[in-house]
């Protein structure tokens, strides 16, 4: 498949509070287009609607209005999910299972044949540097180790499109470097990557295009190359702050 792999048109999500039936708009008419092979970073402050966008694209939530398609199919359809890898924010897995059992379980949910699943499991455990701890129950894992297993399980079906929600969360410096390497390799293999992050240096290094979500609206979608070469922005942080209407606080000093 070529062309546009992820597309939302007027994507809107409202939630109704249980007590007073008050409606709150979380996403308001978001239009996103991600081409094949692109690495798209969705940026935004806490509560901007980044995770909601990913959940809508995966079918975990249903849109109030608008449409979302992934790989040319309605978001959340089984055909689309078969070719998608997902890493949730702060992933939590079955605490009594070992990492190896968990990966084999995830592979079976994709219908991957057992032999291939075993091969991929070992390969991915080695990729995320978890081979030595793979037989420990996951309730003994640190946050960073769970994050590594989360990344491995998102690649078990050799996906065409990857959705990663805060992939660097909980990782130390080496972990972040490893994830950047994995992302670079996936990019070279032609994988389409969509991820949320707060870490702007990582975003500017990895992404081709970014979108800025602010108060439920997509206020900017721009190529990284355009931001760094053409604009009058020093870096991605300046671009981001100016886009959301914030002044750069580094110029303001506390009175002595």
């Amino acid at each position: 498949m070529t062309g546009c792999l992820i597309e939302t048109k007027g994507l809107t999500k409202e939630v109704v509070s249980q007590f007073l039936r008050k409606r709150t708009c979380i996403l308001d008419g978001v239009d996103i287009t991600v081409e094949q092979g692109q690495t798209f970073g969705l940026l935004g402050l806490n509560g901007a609607g980044k995770t909601t966008t990913i959940k809508l694209l995966l079918g975990l939530l249903k849109p109030t209005a608008g449409t979302a398609t992934v790989l040319g199919r309605t978001a959340g359809s089984r055909d689309a999910l078969q070719k998608i890898g997902f890493l949730p924010e702060n992933p939590y897995f079955y605490s009594q299972l070992t990492a190896r059992e968990c990966l084999l379980f995830m592979a079976s949910l994709f219908g991957v044949p057992k032999e291939i699943a075993r091969e991929r499991t070992e390969k991915l455990l080695s990729l995320v540097k978890m081979s030595t701890n793979a037989n420990l129950p996951m309730n003994k894992y640190s946050k960073g180790m769970l994050q590594r297993i989360g990344i491995a399980q998102s690649l078990i079906n050799e996906p065409q499109v990857i959705f990663w929600d805060e992939p660097m969360s909980g990782l130390d410096i080496i972990g972040r470097r490893d994830v950047r390497h994995i992302l670079h390799n996936l990019k070279e293999e032609g994988c389409t990557i969509f991820f949320n992050s707060h870490l702007l240096p990582d975003v500017s290094e990895i992404c081709d295009t970014i979108g800025i979500l602010h108060k439920g609206k997509l206020i900017a979608q721009e190529k990284i190359a355009t931001i760094s070469t053409q604009g009058h922005y020093k870096d991605l942080e300046t671009y981001f702050l100016q886009s959301i209407g914030e002044t750069d606080d580094s110029t303001q000093r506390l009175p002595q």
Partner: protein
């Protein structure tokens, strides 16, 4: 054909995962220890009675197995789906090509396998104690306990389905209360219907009849179990009918739970 097999493999994978999660939990074994304690207590109580020691052991032992099995079924069943939502493991399941019915069927089969294993172990322990306490052989004790224990397991299969059904939509406290209430009423449905009939009040009679026909009826199962327990030949037609009735009820509950899960949002 291979596509169909693939879909069933997903159910098996979820079932195996659920089974592993449950049997690796230490709480599961503490219930087993508790039943052992009650059965040993029944031996002491039996020794205090006059010639009724075997009967007391059978009554108390089977009641303990049914009760503890029921407690495991209710508490594990009620938390089965909600635990996945609370711990957010549901996100990694429903972002895979898995349907609501595969998830519910897998969860149900996994918990059922764990509970059936537990009840079987309890039954074996009780047979061992009975063999030690009476001159009969171990084999004959197993034979006399086999069908009653199978009927306890049948009842628990229904309790697990009720618990899973309520766990798909009710709040934590309410789902336990609903399941306990339904389990209790299932044993008293006949009496409730009789109460309506004796009241000579038409609306009340309609209401009690409606409750009787809507909620499951386990009174016949208990009756059949008690008859089998004391060496009476059970009516195989009745047992087959009860089995079909419970399987149908389980299927209806699981289908409803699957429909709710399929249409649910996971925020």
């Amino acid at each position: 054909m291979s596509q169909c097999l693939n879909e069933f493999q997903k159910i098996f994978a979820i079932a195996l995962n659920t089974y592993r999660e449950i049997i690796r939990d230490r709480i599961f074994y503490s219930f087993f220890v508790f039943v052992i304690f009650i059965i040993l207590l029944a031996v002491v109580l039996g020794n205090l009675s006059v010639g009724q020691d075997e009967r007391i052991l059978r009554d108390v032992g089977l009641a303990a197995i049914g009760l503890i099995g029921g407690i495991i079924a209710i508490f594990a069943g009620c938390n089965l789906v909600s635990k996945e939502i609370d711990k957010k493991t549901i996100f990694v399941i429903f972002t895979k090509p898995v349907t609501g019915w595969q998830f519910i069927a897998g969860k149900y089969l996994g918990l059922s396998a764990a509970v059936l294993l537990m009840v079987t172990l309890m039954g074996l322990f009780m047979s061992g104690v009975l063999s030690a306490a009476s001159p009969h052989s171990f084999g004959s004790q197993i034979n006399s306990l086999l069908l009653p224990v199978v009927l306890v397991q049948l009842e628990l299969l229904l309790v697990i389905a009720i618990a899973i059904f309520f766990s798909t939509f009710a709040t934590p406290v309410m789902r336990v209360l609903f399941t306990l209430g339904m389990w209790l009423i299932a044993h008293l449905g006949g009496s409730l219907r009789e109460f309506g009939r004796l009241s000579n009040n038409h609306p009340l009679q309609t209401l009690t009849n409606a409750i009787y026909w809507t909620l499951p009826d386990l009174a016949n199962l208990t009756r059949a179990r008690n008859l089998l327990m004391y060496g009476n030949q059970g009516n195989h037609e009745v047992i087959t009918l009860i089995t079909c009735y419970i399987i149908s009820y389980v299927l209806i509950l699981l289908i409803m739970a699957s429909i709710i899960t399929e249409h649910r949002e996971f925020s």
